[in-house]
Amino acid sequence: MADATRPLLSVRDLKMHFPITAGLLRRRVGAVKAVDGVSFDILPGETLGLVGESGCGKSTTGRAVLRLHDITSGSIRLDGTEIGRMSQSALRPLRPRMQMVFQDPQASLDPRMTVEAIIREPLDEHTRLSARHKRDKVLELMDAVGLNRRFAGRFPHAFSGGQRQRIGIARALALNPRLVVCDEPIAALDVSIQAQVVNLLEDLQERFGLTYLFISHDLSMVRHIATKVAVMYLGRIVELQAREGLYRDPLHPYTRALLSAVNEPDPVAARSRRRIVLRGDVPSPANPPKGCNFCTRCPDVMPVCREVDPATLEVGPGRWVACHLHDPAVMRGQTTRPFGTMGHRGPGPNPAPLDTPARSAT
């Protein structure tokens, strides 16, 4: 393996804006800022969990990192190579290094191809192996992901959801990638099957030295699989920490609310727990609020939050957060709330529901 301290993937100020067009001439009238300035590193062998609610831009980030989108701006370095501005044809030889596992195993497998053809396709595209070598490799991959070799000639519809996800994983591993982006790989699966797939992903990571970007909305599963966790809200990373720190001592009010909203299977704890229920909906990424993106729903909102966009600061070793509550410079200037009360306050009262409309700005 390469130098373990040099990041395998390094993303800086990544932006992915989708244009909104209107009228007969499809004139550009605005942009959906799906990803709006995201930065993170992933070291070799690590798993970065990217969590957030639907529409926060986590899937777009994953796809942009693999250059499945042409990004608006920013830098993406894979193993030292800048791929952010590369043309798609120049990227092609690099594709084997980075692969993706998709959310919906139903939609991401061609129903007219056999399992063997599906797993072989990347080998056909990127290698010059003989037919026999390819077949051996396919069968090896099927063993690795726990699929019976005898089923190589079957079609995807003959498999259950969990098995289809295994086919998708085998396909992603066919070219010995370094980086695998897993976009909600277990969201479509039943509880008892989720654990099977997560255990498989962990085994494969150990065996092949894989690095994962694991995109999920399931905080308890991310706690299990990820070594570092980034929390996204409305196109930004609001908090990035090692797993232990994030779950023990979440810094950003949004992370705290997310964690308190997780339903633990324990009725006694559920009764004594104080849930932070956020009011309102996520604003539209086409029309984000002024100041901090979270200011419309934040239980700890201050006047400064509605004016100034908070910078992402490193408040401890490896603990990054974008919130004015953790910015000493802002907090000293703030007269309404002294610095001493910020720290680890319990859930505060929520503001009244704002009348920001939940509709998109059309």
């Binding site: 909305h217 706690r223 299990h224 779950y247 909203a261 299977p265 009011r279 509709r359």
Partner: protein, 341 residues
Amino acid sequence: MPDGAPPILEVRDLRTVFRLRSGDVHAVNGVSFDLREGELLGVVGESGSGKSVTMMSLLGLLPSPPAEVLGGPVTFEGKDLLRAGPEAMRAVRGGRIGFVFQDPMTSLNPVFTVGFQIMEPLRKHLGLGKRQARARAAELLALVGIPDAGRRLDDYPHQFSGGMRQRVMIAIALACDPKVLIADEPTTALDVTIQAQIIELMQELRQKMGMAVIWITHDLGVIAGIADRVIVMYGGQIVEHAPVDALFANPRHPYTQALLTTVPKVQGERVRRLAVIDGQPPILGQFPDECTFRDRCPYAFDVCHRLNPQRYPVGEGHDAACFLNDPGLAPQRPVLEVVDG
């Protein structure tokens, strides 16, 4: 909690078979339960366990053919719902029994305003006039926490977000002040923070209106927070039934036990490796004569392959359909003893 309350919905030996060209599928295999007044009954199971089909069967929501609903009776307010005519069922559905479906995106009609869809049951079931119905619809929207309710009645479903649409669905289900509300995975399609809002809303409404709720979900975490009693379903049968505390503290069916260990937690010790239940849930081509969980059960012994276990009482209001709870049959009770502890 409403412990001694009389049952308002009694289901006995409900069976549903889908007669398909590829063969029969036995989706519900002899389900019996009671719903008491004012309680929240949680129904847990994986997809294909028959939890949704059970509820749709007793409301006559399944198209026949292919579905065939057998067994019964299903007693609600003195009537057997399975033998009531279509006219009588129409009066029950949406009137005395409300229903909230899983997907708020597809269960509202996109070409009618939200106001029209809330007013429809009010005018049909309660015979309200247009103006009265509109006033009541605005009240209902406000009740489920939609700001500026009066004005939003004229909006179409696409102008609402997912969480807001689920609130509208709840408003429609509550329109006629039902005795029973059946909520089929009402929060599954929603984000966690929105899910928290809907759960809070449902609890508040239950206190205000005193209705009984059947809450179907695959999420044990949700159940732990809201249910009074829980039914665990597997292979179209009830495998365990218990008060919520007893179920989580002392599960007596191997499936429930396994289900509780496969879910990772956000607090406490992080396990190095997740426990799994090997194999797949069954698809039943015939009525099960043996235990449906036997192929995935670590404790299966000879009887499990020959007979389908009855529901053995194991405690106060607690029963489990597993031979390990039969002292005469179980060879030894290695693991369950520990759990008894």
